[in-house]
C-alpha cells in the first residue's frame, strides 16, 4: 500500500510536471541541445519546479477564491490532521479500521485539496515552461540585453551543445540567416552547401549533418590543370552532387568551414566588415527593398 501511494505521489508531483514542462519548452527549442549529466538534469528539473510549486502552495493556502478552484476544498483548519490520519491509515490497516468513517471523510477532503493544488501546480508549471521556452527560443532577439545575456549564459544555456549555435541560425536575430559549410572528409573530398539539418547524440556530440545545394570540388582535375599550368579558376571545379540532400557522417569530417549569411545584416555589421576588409574607416549607406540605413 505504501509503495502504491509513493508511486502515485511520485507520478503526480514529479513525473507529470516534468513531462508537462518539457513538452511545452520543446515547442520553442529542441531539448536535445541542452546537455548535462544526471545530477545537472536533476538540478535543472528541481529549479524549474520550485517556482510553480511555491506559487501553487501560496495560492492554495492564502488566496481566497482561487483556493477552492476547480473543486471545493473545505475545512482548511483540519488540513494537518487529515494528512496525518490518511498517512497513518496508509501505513497501518489497524489504524484505518480504528478510524472508521473519519478516515473516509479525511480522505475526501485531502483529495479535494490536492486536486486544487495540482491544478494550480500544473497550470503554473505549464506557464513556467512557456516563459522559459520563450526566453530560450528568442536568444537571437534578446541577447543584446546584458541581464538576459547573463541569465542565458549562466542558467538557460550553461550546458548547451555547441553544434546548435554553430549549425543553425539560433544566435541570430534574423532567423533567415543561412549557414553555409565547406566540409573536408577523411576521403579527401571537399563539399560545400547549406546546412539544413544536423544531428547530435544524447551527449550533444555531432553525429551527422545534411547539406542542401551541395557541390563537390573536383580536386583531381583541378590539380591536373594546375600542374599543366592552366591557371585554373577554382569556381569552375565545383560540381553539383546528384540528389537533393547530402548526408555527411560526422566521423568522416576532418574540417568544417562555416559561413553565416544574414539576408538583412545590421548596418553596423556591414560597416565593420567593410572597414576590416579595406583596412580603413568608411561611411556606409545600406538599403534593402524594405529599409534604408546610413552610418
Amino acid at each position: 500500500m505504501i509503495a502504491l501511494a509513493a508511486s502515485l505521489v511520485l507520478a503526480l508531483y514529479v513525473v507529470v510536471p516534468g513531462l508537462l514542462f518539457r513538452s511545452i519548452y520543446r515547442l520553442f527549442i529542441p531539448l536535445r541541445i541542452v546537455s548535462g549529466n544526471t545530477t545537472e538534469e536533476a538540478t535543472r528539473a528541481v529549479m524549474t519546479n520550485v517556482i510553480p510549486l511555491t506559487l501553487a502552495l501560496l495560492i492554495v493556502w492564502y488566496v481566497p477564491w482561487l483556493d477552492n478552484f476547480p473543486v471545493h476544498a473545505d475545512l482548511p483548519e483540519l488540513r494537518a490532521q487529515d494528512y496525518k490520519l490518511v498517512a497513518s491509515c496508509i501505513y497501518s490497516e489497524q489504524q484505518c479500521n480504528a478510524a472508521g468513517q473519519n478516515f473516509w471523510a479525511a480522505l475526501n477532503r485531502t483529495w479535494r485539496r490536492q486536486t486544487v493544488f495540482l491544478f494550480w501546480f500544473y497550470l503554473l508549471t505549464a506557464g513556467t515552461g512557456f516563459g522559459i521556452g520563450y526566453l530560450a527560443g528568442g536568444y537571437g532577439r534578446f541577447r543584446s540585453n546584458r541581464f538576459y545575456r547573463w541569465f542565458a549564459d549562466k542558467l538557460l544555456f550553461s550546458r548547451i551543445s555547441e553544434w546548435h549555435p554553430l549549425l543553425t541560425a539560433f544566435v541570430f536575430a534574423d532567423k533567415n540567416t543561412v549557414v553555409r559549410a565547406n566540409v573536408l572528409t577523411v576521403t579527401d573530398n571537399l563539399y560545400r552547401g547549406v546546412v539544413s539539418e544536423h544531428f547530435v547524440d544524447s551527449d550533444g556530440k555531432l553525429t551527422g549533418l545534411i547539406l542542401t545545394e551541395a557541390l563537390r570540388f573536383d580536386r583531381r582535375s583541378f590539380l591536373q590543370d594546375k600542374d599543366a599550368k592552366l591557371s585554373p579558376e577554382t569556381e569552375a571545379y565545383w560540381h553539383s552532387v546528384p540528389g537533393a540532400k547530402l548526408y555527411v557522417f560526422a566521423d568522416k569530417i576532418v574540417d568544417l568551414n562555416l559561413n553565416y549569411e544574414s539576408p538583412e545584416p545590421s548596418l553596423e555589421m556591414v560597416e565593420k566588415y567593410i572597414e576590416r576588409w579595406l583596412e580603413r574607416p568608411v561611411q556606409v549607406e545600406y538599403s534593402t527593398p524594405k529599409t534604408k540605413r546610413k552610418s
Binding site: 536568444y139 537571437g140 541577447r143 545575456r149 542565458a152 549564459d153 544555456f157 550553461s158 550546458r159 548547451i160 551543445s161 555547441e162 549555435p165 554553430l166 544566435v171 541570430f172 540567416t177 553555409r180 559561413n259 553565416y260 549569411e261 544574414s262 539576408p263 545584416p265 555589421m269 556591414v270 565593420k272 566588415y273 567593410i274 576588409w277 579595406l278 580603413r280 574607416p281 568608411v282 561611411q283 556606409v284 549607406e285 545600406y286 538599403s287 534593402t288 527593398p289
Partner: protein, 67 residues
C-alpha cells in the same frame, strides 16, 4: 559547452554574417573601391534582390560647427 559562454560564441559567429553577394563584390572590387575612396568618391554596389550599398569616404566634420 562549458569552456566559453554562449554569448561569446554568438558574438564570434555574428561577425561577418553578411550576404554572399556583398562579400563577393567587396572582395572582387577591393582595388576599385580603394581607388574611389582615395579620390574622395563613393562606390555603389547592387544586390540581387534590390539591395543597395554605398561606400564613401568619411566626411570630415564641418568647421563651421566646431567649437
Amino acid at each position: 559547452m562549458t569552456a566559453t559562454d554562449l554569448s561569446n560564441l554568438a558574438d564570434l559567429l555574428e561577425e561577418d554574417s553578411i550576404p554572399n553577394w556583398l562579400r563577393d563584390q567587396i572582395e572582387h572590387r577591393t582595388g576599385e573601391i580603394l581607388n574611389a575612396l582615395k579620390s574622395g568618391q563613393s562606390v555603389h554596389l547592387d544586390g540581387p534582390h534590390g539591395e543597395q550599398l554605398t561606400i564613401g569616404p568619411i566626411t570630415p566634420p564641418n568647421p563651421a560647427h566646431a567649437t
